[in-house]
């Protein structure tokens, strides 16, 4: 039977406020354990939380950018459960009156478009960090655990999608686009690596065309977009196999852990507890009520969003839709592109080609984001200028590229250090061509007998003798002239 998968994503994003959600502790990442706590975020008796207005503003802005309706009346609830990373034994979250509902993200999948609904966006607080001691650091075999509450109480925005996603590729595209939107808003640094963006995926399969849902698994430990896509592909395959081979009992509603190294998901052993959270309005936090003027005031502040930027890249720089899509996939890519175009003053398409070709290849291989490298728009602009001026050939430029990334040296410095300057001196090239013609007399004969391909071979020989530094146009012209003599 043919199955289709049904995927929904729950994405948690730490907001980029200076202080925590309900107290004045700093949110700076990576500080020594338990240096950023106070009676409020430690849940000490008698302490009182007060909500951070910036965090509320960030969530409403995110909601507006994602096409949500904003609830003008919104409440904080207590979600009650026990876990050692949570000092109060309840998490302040939102329940039936979240800040935003009914949003959407449109995806351009290349050969088709699709729209993914957003059910809700709510504001809550993050938990502390657990370090498991013994058992190779995994919770299952640990002897005991250590708790660092620096992260406890950091504002956390949860964005819940509708189960509208049908493929692992769409899931990845949705998460990437969400990240790009939040980046442009500046509400979070949305780093999956640092854990400021965390993606959980619910996935089930059903016979194609069926309206009912199958039994879903929740996937955790998806620490990169690649993991998200791979884990979903694996899980869909696992569930499909189970049904095709008559083992529906292998699909149970459970949380599964993605193992990136092994490339498999497995049942996550957690302490059994009923999901009986007994939500009730937090008596310490009074309701929030917004005027539509306030919401419109925030809407007017929204910056250019990735879709608008994509349209502008097509209009302003004449980029094809595919290139415009890729260059607006992250804010950093788009910023890098525009900055380079400004410095280069040449053809924007050349900038796009280099960024999406050699640069993307390098970034993907190294697993880096553009803003994590030593390369700046100045590097790329200078490189393109050197090519335009004929100082280096395209071939040399490709050679310089990786070194630019590794050392952060400007291209002209590398060119000078390595003596890679293009040979554009006519006399010098003419001498080399004479040598090539002498050494390849038989090929010259073939060319004169009408074998056009032989010309390319001769050009190649000249390039080889110049170690790739010969000006290709000049070699072509002089070679043709000499052959016609």
């Amino acid at each position: 039977m043919e199955y289709e998968s049904v995927i929904g994503l729950e994405i948690h994003v730490e907001l980029a406020t200076k202080s925590k959600m309900f107290c004045k502790c700093s949110t700076v990442f990576g500080e020594a354990p338990n240096t950023q706590t106070c009676p409020v975020c430690l849940g000490l008796p008698g302490s009182l939380p007060v909500a951070n207005e910036k965090a509320v503003e960030y969530v409403i802005k995110s909601g507006l950018a994602l096409g949500c309706d904003i609830n003008l009346y919104s409440l904080f609830h207590r979600k009650n459960y026990f876990y050692p990373d949570m000092p109060k034994d309840y998490q302040i979250s939102q329940y039936d009156q979240p800040l935003c509902i009914n949003g959407l993200i449109d995806l351009d999948m290349g050969d088709y478009q699709t729209r993914i609904g957003i059910t809700r966006i709510h504001l809550e607080e993050d938990t502390g960090k657990l370090i498991h001691v013994g058992g190779a650091g995994r919770i299952a075999g640990a002897e005991y655990s250590l708790v660092d509450f620096n992260r406890a109480g950091v504002p956390l925005m949860e964005i819940v999608s509708e189960p509208d996603i049908r493929t692992p590729e769409e899931a990845k595209a949705y998460a990437q686009k969400l990240r790009a939107i939040l980046q442009s808003l500046g509400v979070s640094d949305v780093s999956m690596e640092k854990g400021s963006m965390r993606v959980d995926a619910n996935v089930s399969i059903r016979p194609k065309g069926s309206a009912e849902f199958g039994t879903k698994a929740e996937l955790k430990n998806l620490n990169s977009f690649r993991s998200l896509q791979r884990a979903l592909a694996y899980e869909i395959e696992r569930q499909t196999k189970a049904l095709n081979e008559g083992r529906p009992e292998d699909i149970v509603q459970e949380t599964r852990h993605w193992d990136e190294a092994k490339g498999i998901t497995s049942t996550l052993r957690t302490k059994e507890y009923a999901h009986d959270y007994r939500y009730f309005p937090d008596p310490d936090l009074v309701p929030m009520e917004f005027t539509s003027d306030y919401v419109e005031y925030l809407r007017a502040q929204l910056p250019e969003l990735p879709d608008e930027r994509k349209q502008r890249f097509m209009r302003e720089y004449g980029l094809p839709v595919h290139e415009a899509n890729l260059l607006t996939e992250s804010k950093a890519m788009g910023d890098f592109f525009e900055e380079t175009v400004k410095l280069y003053k040449g053809d924007p398409k050349a900038v796009a080609n280099w960024m999406l070709g050699d640069m993307s290849y390098y970034l993907n291989t190294e697993g880096l984001e553009i803003d994590e490298t030593a390369v700046t728009p100045k590097h790329l602009a200078e490189l393109l200028k050197l090519m335009d001026k004929g100082v280096i050939s395209g071939k040399i430029a490709k050679e310089i590229f990786p070194e630019m990334f590794e050392t952060g040296k400007l291209p002209q410095v590398i060119v000078e250090e390595k003596g890679m300057t293009q040979i554009s001196n006519e006399e010098e090239i003419a001498k080399i061509i004479d040598l090539v013609l002498e050494e390849n007399a038989s090929t010259v004969e073939e060319y004169r007998a009408g074998k056009d391909k032989a010309f390319g071979f001769l050009v190649g020989q000249a390039m080889r003798l110049t170690k790739g530094r010969g000006n290709p146009q000049l070699i072509n012209r002089l070679l043709r002239e000499k052959l016609q003599e």
């Binding site: 004045k24 240096t35 910036k54 657990l130 919770i139 005991y144 250590l146 302490k271």
Partner: protein, 94 residues
Amino acid sequence: MAISEKEVKHVAWLARLDLTDAETQKFTQQLDVILEHAGKISELDVKDIPPTSHAIPLKNVLREDKVGECLTPEAALSNAPKGEDQAFMVPRIV
């Protein structure tokens, strides 16, 4: 009965309370009286009254996003039964 012993046991478990059978019986009776009493409210017609989440007429109590003083790790950990490497130590979780 407004509440059963089974429900009391469940709620006690959710709150990590280890009740004896005698306690469970006793609390079931007490809770039953309380719930009956509170149940009187359902005799009122409240269909036009929005649910009350807070009894005080306050809204929008928010603070500016400003960083203030934190506790030292020593102070934060001073009441913890056990600690290690400036962190709270907890027994194995699963």
